[in-house]
């Protein structure tokens, strides 16, 4: 059990490509930290530096209180699940799981006991004599997990472990990994490109892009208070709607004038937005903060306008709707009782208290 600390960690490849730029973060002991971002954002490189599979160009990595920059992977006391599982094809499931213990000269009885314990925990007792070739994707995944568990390492590292599974299995394994973490209480650093996985699994989430850390916080905090436009757009499904527009003053109030509509800005935002009056700005509204006017809860702010219902996707519990206003399409999650009808116009309200505004140049969040 140990914390993992990254201090100004940078990775520059031989061809001068900067894959990871000056990342600092702390994963507390027993914490489940998820690194998430689009492909090429440097999340896997970061994980591999923690594992010792990549050299660290600059900065320091601590596991526990020890700097591990010059410690070989084998001596870092970590375990890792790879994207392709990397099970040893020539060994049985048992041998795959026992390999690390044998290398550490663990007594035989203890190896047997620990492998059986792990197999029991993962429900793979009957598979111990099989070779990886004879296993299904989900079973391989479990073996890969088992190989980590038996080692009782300080830290688990996961490199997109669920990306090779089908959707249903992925949801199931997600829950199992969460349960496993609750039971084992080992520090986990988990890499994924899937923001749903990140949101559901992580105690805290690191959002990365182009080698930079954009935000490091709890899922709820990241969802509600994204630091910039990228984080706002990346986290959340369906993703947030962005509107380009201008801030205008009218009757002492600030109004956001978009393409074909305008909405009032809540008073509490005005202070922070006053420098942007008359300027181009981006408004972000999450799909669940869009309402059909009669069902709106935020009647205080006359933020309603007419939009055309383009597409309705009834999902049962909710309707996902594409609206068209001006030349802009945006997405909303409505309750069935709000009765969207394809092709018709609808009075739409934005819950502006939950809106975000982004600076067009820096893309940073203003409110």
């Amino acid at each position: 059990m140990a914390k993992v600390v990254l201090e100004n960690v940078t990775k520059i490849y031989d061809n001068d490509f900067e894959a990871v730029a000056d990342i600092s973060l702390t994963a507390k002991d027993k914490e489940f930290v998820v690194l998430v971002g689009p492909s090429g954002c440097g999340k896997t490189t970061t994980l591999r530096m923690i594992a010792g599979l990549e050299d660290i160009s600059k900065g320091k990595v601590y596991i526990g209180d020890k700097v591990v920059n010059n410690v070989l992977p084998k001596d870092r006391d970590i375990a890792m699940v790879f994207q392709n599982y990397a099970l040893y094809p020539h060994m049985t499931v048992y041998d795959n799981m026992a390999f690390g213990l044998k290398l550490r000269k663990t007594p035989k009885e203890e190896i047997i006991q620990r492998v059986e314990e792990a197999a029991d925990l993962l429900g793979i007792e009957e598979l111990l004599d099989r070779k990886p070739k004879q296993l299904s994707g989900g079973q391989r995944q479990r073996v890969a997990l088992g190989r980590c568990i038996v080692r009782k390492p300080k830290v688990f590292l996961f490199d997109e472990p669920l990306s090779n599974l089908d959707a249903k299995l992925r949801v199931q394994m997600r829950a199992e990994i969460i349960k496993l973490h609750n039971k084992l209480k080992t520090t986990i650093i988990y890499v994924t490109h899937d923001q749903v996985e990140a949101m559901t699994m992580g105690d805290r989430i690191v959002v990365m892009k182009d080698g930079y850390l954009h935000q490091y916080d709890t899922p709820v905090e990241i969802y509600n208070n994204p630091t910039n436009k990228f984080v706002a757009g990346f986290i959340g499904s369906p993703s947030i709607n962005f509107f380009e527009g201008k801030l205008k003053k009218s009757d002492g109030d600030i109004v956001f004038a978009g393409d074909g509509f305008s909405v009032d800005v809540p008073d509490e935002f005005e202070d922070k937005l006053k420098d942007y009056a008359g300027k181009e700005i981006t408004l972000g509204i999450r799909p669940e903060d869009v309402y059909h006017k009669p069902y709106s809860t935020s009647a205080d702010y006359p933020a309603n306008f007419v939009a055309n219902v383009e597409v309705v996707e009834p999902l049962g519990s909710e309707f996902q709707v594409n609206f068209l206003v001006g030349d802009t399409t945006f997405r909303a999650r409505l309750e069935p009782k709000e009765e969207p009808v394809m092709g018709e116009d609808m009075d739409v309200v934005f819950d502006m208290k939950k809106a975000h505004f982004f600076d067009n140049k820096t893309e940073e969040t203003i409110v």
């Binding site: 599979l53 992977p73 084998k74 790879f82 990397a86 099970l87 040893y88 094809p89 290398l103 990886p132």
Partner: protein, 278 residues
């Protein structure tokens, strides 16, 4: 190709197969026939595979009158050493070429390829000079070195190509599991490369077992001959002892054919790219 063949196709298929099998096997059967004939009775046009007067006379003579057993010993000694050197060195060098980008890597790989374009027999003269200066004429060591150097480039390429198909995440998993670079190579990668190792071994084996032109330059005394060189000495004089030669040819071929049949299931997979799938 994988469709189920209809019964009446079988007749055609087997007719074709038998024709070609006959063509490929007949020349070999012919050697057996000659080896079983008494004396040097090559001069017959009988098509019988087993002659009427079949006899093991030639084989008996081969193993009793000639220094044949000595040649077998020499061949086995040289061949096994070359095979071990070829497999061990190629498995290591191929791994370095596959997994590491080091300066001179491309040059190294290309040079290996170029040595393959040079007729092995043409290295004879420079090698002969080198070997004689090193005082290795009439020694097995000289021959072993020459054969190993001839077999190595192909084996290195073969191993490198095979390692390329093994995902590097396997070594990484082993490293994380607690294995050093060498342990990961030895315990994880090498067992997976078994099919390629088999081919490398077979290739080294055949290089050393079959060769006689280089051997003829290096080994001068009859009791140091390898089998192919000894066989050649049968046909050196005016009167070739064909029966003896044929018997010797059969004996020299048996280990290779046996090895080949034994390893045949590895053969195709060893040459298949991308064969290690998890």
């Amino acid at each position: 190709m994988r469709h189920k063949t209809k019964p009446f196709h079988y007749i055609i298929i087997y007719a074709i197969v038998l024709f070609f099998v006959a063509i490929s096997v007949y020349p070999v059967l012919r050697v057996i026939t000659i080896s079983l004939r008494p004396g040097d009775n090559l001069l017959t046009r009988s098509l019988r595979i087993i002659p009427e007067d079949a006899t093991f006379e030639n084989y008996i003579k081969l193993f009793t009158n000639e220094p044949f057993l000595l040649w077998v010993r020499n061949s086995v000694l040289v061949t096994i050493t070359v095979t071990i050197i070829g497999v061990v060195l190629a498995s290591m060098a191929g791994y370095a070429f596959s997994r590491h980008k080091f300066p001179g890597r491309k040059l190294g790989l290309h040079s290996l390829l170029i040595t393959q374009m040079f007729p092995a027999t043409m290295l004879l003269l420079p090698l002969y000079i080198m070997i004689s200066k090193l005082g290795l004429i009439n020694s097995f060591l000289g021959l072993i070195i020459m054969y190993s150097a001839t077999a190595l480039p192909f084996c290195i390429w073969l191993m490198k190509g095979y390692y390329d198909t093994i995902p590097p995440s396997l070594e990484e998993a082993a490293n994380v599991d607690g294995a050093s670079k060498f342990t990961a190579f030895y315990k994880v990668i090498l067992p997976l490369a078994a099919p390629a190792l088999v081919i490398a071994a077979l290739f080294s084996f055949m290089t050393a077992w079959n060769e006689y032109i280089i051997a003829a330059q290096v080994l001068w005394y009859e009791d140091m001959f390898t089998i192919p060189l000894g066989l050649k000495s049968f046909q050196g004089n005016m009167t070739t002892e064909w029966g003896l030669y044929a018997a010797g040819a059969i004996v020299i071929s048996i280990p290779v054919v046996a090895l080949f049949l034994f390893l045949s299931k590895w053969l195709v997979s060893g040459l298949t790219l991308g064969s290690v799938k998890e």
